[in-house]
Structures are given as C-alpha cells and as structure tokens.
Point group: C2
Chain length 233, copies 2
DNA sequence: TCTGCTGTTTGATCTGAATCAAAGAAGATC
DNA sequence: GATCTTCTTTGATTCAGATCAAACAGCAGA
C-alpha cells in the first residue's frame, strides 16, 4: 500500500496515533481495496480473517437468525474501523451500503502490529468504547421506543453522522442529506417493518417536519420538533 | 487498598495483565468498597468520575428516557470491569442487583495508569470488544426476537454466565440457579413488560421445560428444548 | 412508447404483547 | 399469629405495529 500521507482519513482514522515510520510499517501490511454496493466483506460465523479502515463509503454490520430475520447492529462511516481484532470468529456480517474504499489488513498481522504499538491500541480502545456507547443507546431504542421515536432518532443520528463525515462540501449537509439506507434497511436498523417505516416517514412529511424530495433524500424542516419526537435526552 | 494477591478475581479481572510491582502501584490508586443491593454507584448523565472491578456481586447497567422507561443494557459479574474510561460523562447508571464488593478507582488516575501500562489497556480492549459483541447480540434479540425466544435466550445466558462466575461450588449450577433479576428487571433487559415475562415463564413451566421452585430459582429441565426455543445460532 | 422490474406507498385486517384490573403468595413488622 | 407491603400471577381488553394485499412511481431496456 502506498501513500498513507495523502490518505483522506490519515488524521481521523486510528492511524492518527502513528508516527511516519510506524505508518510506513503498518502500510506494508495492508492493501487498498474497492468494494461495490451490496458486496459482503465478512460473513457472520466465518473466521475473523480481516480488519479494515474505511477510506470512503458506508457499510452495515448485521446479524441474523437462521430463518432470515436480520438486525443491522451498526452503520460504519469513513475513518471508522471494522472487524474483530483478537477474536477467532466474526459474529456479524459486513456489507457495503455504497461503493466503498477500504484499507484492509489480515487480522493476525494487524493484531501483532497493534500489540507492539500501544498508541494504536489506545485509539482502537477509544473507538470500541464509543461504539459500545452507541450500541447501548440503540438497545434503549430497540427495547423501549415507539415507531415514531425510532424514526426521528434515526433521522437525527444520520444527519449528524453524515455531516461529521463531511464528504460533500455542501453548506446545508446537516439538514438535507441522502440516506445511505433504503426502507428495508431502515427497518432492519430500527426493528420495524418496511411498511411501518414508510408510514412513519409519510406522516412526518405530512406534518411538515421533514421533506422527502426523492426516495433517498431527506430534508429536515423542523429540527426542534424532530428532536422532541425522538425523545432523546 | 491491600492484599491484591489474595483477591479472588486477581487472575480473571483485567489486573491479571499486571506484574506484582505494577499491581502494587495500581492498588495504591484504588480502594475496596462494599455496596448494598439497590445502591446506585453511577448516575446516567453524571460526570464519569469512577471506574471499578467487580470482586463479588452482580450489577446492572441501565439507560432511561425522561418519562421513566428504562432499558437494562448490561449485567455485570465478578471480575468484570465497569465505568467509562477516557470519557467525560457516563451515559448510563450502574446499580447493584445484589450486595457487592468492588475495587474502585478514580477515572482520571485509572486513565493515567492505563495509558502507561499497555498490557492493562490490552485486557481492557479485549473486554470491551467482548462487551460490544454481547451488546450486538442483544440488539438482535431486542429488534427481532419474539417474547418466548427472548425469555429462553435470557435463561440460557444467565445459566452460562452464572456458572462461569462459579461462586457456588454446587455441582449443578448450570441447570439450577438463582436469578439475580426480579420479574421487572427481566422485562427491562428483554424489552418486555412484567406481565409478559411472568406469562412466558408460567408457560415454560407448564410445558415442563423449566421448573420454578421459588420466585428467584430456576431449574432447566429440558435444556435442548430451551435452546430450540431461543433460536440462537 | 411500451414493458418489466424494483422499491415505495397506502389500505384492510390481524395479532402478539401492552395495558388495565384484580386476585394470590411470600416475606416483613408488630 | 394477624396485618402490611411488595412481588408475582392470571384474566379481560386494547392497541401499535405486523401481516396481507394491491396500487403506484421511477427507471432500464427493448
């Protein structure tokens, strides 16, 4: 792999913990890879053989039951880390929601490198703690929130995380954005059916809280109201 | 704090990563503390001022909505770690489900110590990754499983985690144990109401899958059937 | 322009779990 | 041993969201 210094996520991914020399060493272990929308990188239950940094694109992390029920347990953005270091098996699948570009490492070589670079492990620990906070926040949503609250929470969360990523330089990214999820996937994140998601969105639109210019676009017209509906602390 | 060498969780808590000298240094930062059942150690939204190892007892980690709805997002056993290192605020409360004994540190001094002891941070990372796996497994349960599946999954999980803790030396701990949760708390873990929990347990008992000798005790009579009902991979 | 195809919306109906309500059980306290 | 108090179980009813069903919109290709 070449040119980590040019990398757009150099300073936001966990690599930010490394000096130039260390980054060189790590880069020799990895490779850049493009994946297309819909492609699955890791299958639930498989040996955990790779880990990766996201350079661009959005991916989902999901778990399922043998009869086909699926729950999306995480949505991953540029600069985020995926994979299960220090573990034998992957308990979840990772699938691209958009075309994406990754920086991939074999898990075993990454594990070894990380063990020798505490600053890198520290970054990884911080990210894992944040991811755990997010997962627990979502458990509250899945266990206790109503359909309306769930949709409102998702829209606000997406609005924030997409604007943090800041790919597009558009001024009003925060209030107008393209959802990286279709209706079915929104249902799979929220523990709802596609019909319920659709109905809730229609109602928010009818109430003037949001606009839906096309199937992927959302514009937040009354953010305050959406926040109230989301019942988030 | 004295006598880490005698500590029952010395080899299973994250302290196992430390040498004698290091352990001495860490022990000088902490103190042992007893808490009684029902006592809350950390309040959701408060500054994250403490972290701790559990020596004995069982605690819950919970989040709530202002109107009183509560979700239990984790149940913590001896040798487990609680608190939110490297973060300003605690997003959740921690409350004792039984009388418990903890080994408490101020977060800031623990953070500083951990940063200088990579082996400790490594253990902490592994635990956090395991906790994240568990949280995601539970997201699948909360998002997609039926009431029966949820109860069956909880009983099996409790059976396993309680026997791993292995406090009691009783032979058949795995199939007969005291629940550390009352019915309300079971509901709060599972995203169900108290009535639904009670009805599901009654049905499992009527079907001969489990026995309920008293309000806290559970005996698993047909483990195979319980596993089928839990729909866990 | 028509014809599929895929994803979305809307409507009608059903159902699993919530809610409302009351009766037991098991400890505590006096 | 009687009386509270707290927790649990069971029953009746309701309802939010699931399921079943059909129409609709946007596009790609012929």
């Amino acid at each position: 792999m070449q040119d980590c210094y040019q990398c757009v996520v150099r300073n936001s991914a966990i690599c930010a913990a490394l000096s130039h020399d260390e980054l060189d060493a790590l880069s020799r272990l990895g490779r850049k890879q493009r994946v297309v929308r819909g492609q699955t990188l890791v299958w639930e239950g498989d040996d955990a053989i790779i880990v990766a940094n996201i350079i661009s694109g959005i991916l989902k992390v999901s778990m399922s039951i043998s009869d086909g029920r699926e729950q999306i347990v995480g949505v991953v953005f540029p600069a985020d880390f995926i994979g299960r270091p220090f573990g034998q098996k992957s308990a979840y699948s990772v699938t691209a929601l958009s075309d994406a570009e990754l920086c991939i490492f074999s898990r075993s070589s990454f594990d070894a490198f990380a063990r020798n670079h505490p600053a890198l492990e520290h970054k990884l620990l911080q990210r894992t703690l944040e991811e755990l906070d997010r997962a627990r926040e979502w458990m509250l949503l899945l266990g206790k929130k109503t359909a309306t609250e769930r949709i409102a929470t998702l829209l606000l969360e997406m609005s924030i995380r997409l604007s943090e990523t800041g790919c597009s330089v558009e001024q009003n990214e925060l209030n107008e954005f393209a959802l990286p999820l279709d209706r079915q996937q929104m249902g799979d994140v929220l523990g709802l059916t596609i019909e319920t998601v659709s109905r809730q969105l229609s109602r928010l639109k009818a109430d003037g809280v949001i606009g839906l210019p096309d199937r992927r676009m959302v514009s937040i017209q009354d953010r305050r109201r959406l926040q109230d509906l989301s019942t988030t602390a």
